[in-house]
């Protein structure tokens, strides 16, 4: 074999962290946790998101009123949000470290601005 690269048992080339500790870092898992979708599956996901958007719009026109409508819209929004970040942005298939840094930012934003809105009595009807 015309190479001097050393491949570890797990198939990774050694990193500086390996040198320091002898073992790969815990978060240095394989880049893909699951098999990525095919182009056809991406189209189905996009169609699903389009249907959810249509349901959202229909709900505002003919759906329930009041808190039930708001909760329904928030749930649909969350589902669309998750589908885009998990499948189109590949968070489901990539390293958990990427998920961690994004969810930390997202969690901070939701927590911080939730407190801000509560401070201004936004949630009090």
């Amino acid at each position: 074999m015309d190479t001097d690269a050393t491949i570890t048992d797990s198939g990774r080339t050694p990193t500086t962290a390996d040198d320091a500790h002898g073992e790969p870092p815990a978060h240095a898992e394989p880049a893909q946790r699951h098999k990525e979708p095919t182009d056809r599956q991406y189209i189905f996901i996009a169609l699903f998101l389009a249907v959810l958007t249509a349901i959202e719009i229909a709900a505002t026109e003919v759906g329930p009123d009041g808190p039930l409508l708001i909760v329904s819209l928030l749930v649909l929004m969350a589902v669309k949000f998750l589908f885009v970040i998990l499948f189109f942005m590949h968070l489901r298939f990539d390293s958990r470290l990427f998920s961690l840094v994004f969810y930390i930012g997202l969690g901070f934003a939701i927590g911080l601005y939730g407190v801000v809105l509560a401070t201004f009595h936004f949630f009090v009807s």
């Binding site: 690269a5 198939g11 898992e29 394989p30 958007t53 929004m77 590949h90 990427f98």
Partner: protein
Amino acid sequence: MSDATITETDDAVEIPHGYDDGSDHIGLPHHTSTGLSNTKLAMWLFLGSECLLFGGLISTYMLYRNRQADQLGPDQLWDIPFTSATSFVLLMSSLTMVMSVSAAKRKDEQRTKLWLTVTALLGGLFLAGQVYEFTVFYREGLGYTTSLFSSSFYTLTGFHGVHVAVGIIMLLSLVAMLARGKLVGDKHETVEMIGLYWHFVDVVWIVIFTLVYLIPA
């Protein structure tokens, strides 16, 4: 530590599942302390920080949405069918973007350029819709300083529009660089990074569309 100098012709090395990132160095993890791409990690950190930016703008709008003047509020202004159509366009641009990333992974440069161009066009269509919407609102008397509602609305949607515009510039620049063969390094990763940014712009619009346009004030 030895340098990894495995060539693509070195088929004796079994590529572990999960490391085929479609790059010019197929099968090799990134030579970093984490074994992951620093560029990708930086992009996710950036996107995490963008959540805080848009969170601030969205919550400011939510606080001020009822501070209107001259009865010019969301109920009088919103054209839901029109905004729904532009939202659909942006949603579909996410599909074309992911198709582009998929083509880049297969090293299909023609389709990569094609899907990138379609994504830029869809982004441009969305932006044109936003400019039209702003123009209509302005003609109806909703200026930037008309009320706290108008200021927070234009700031939020304007910031998002700027993000879309930056995304379009990046997409077209990438197409031009691919066409001229001036893109050096890992092409798939470059397309993927711009894709992450573009999908994030789409994700932010999913939130804005629901919270600003659909949930009644």
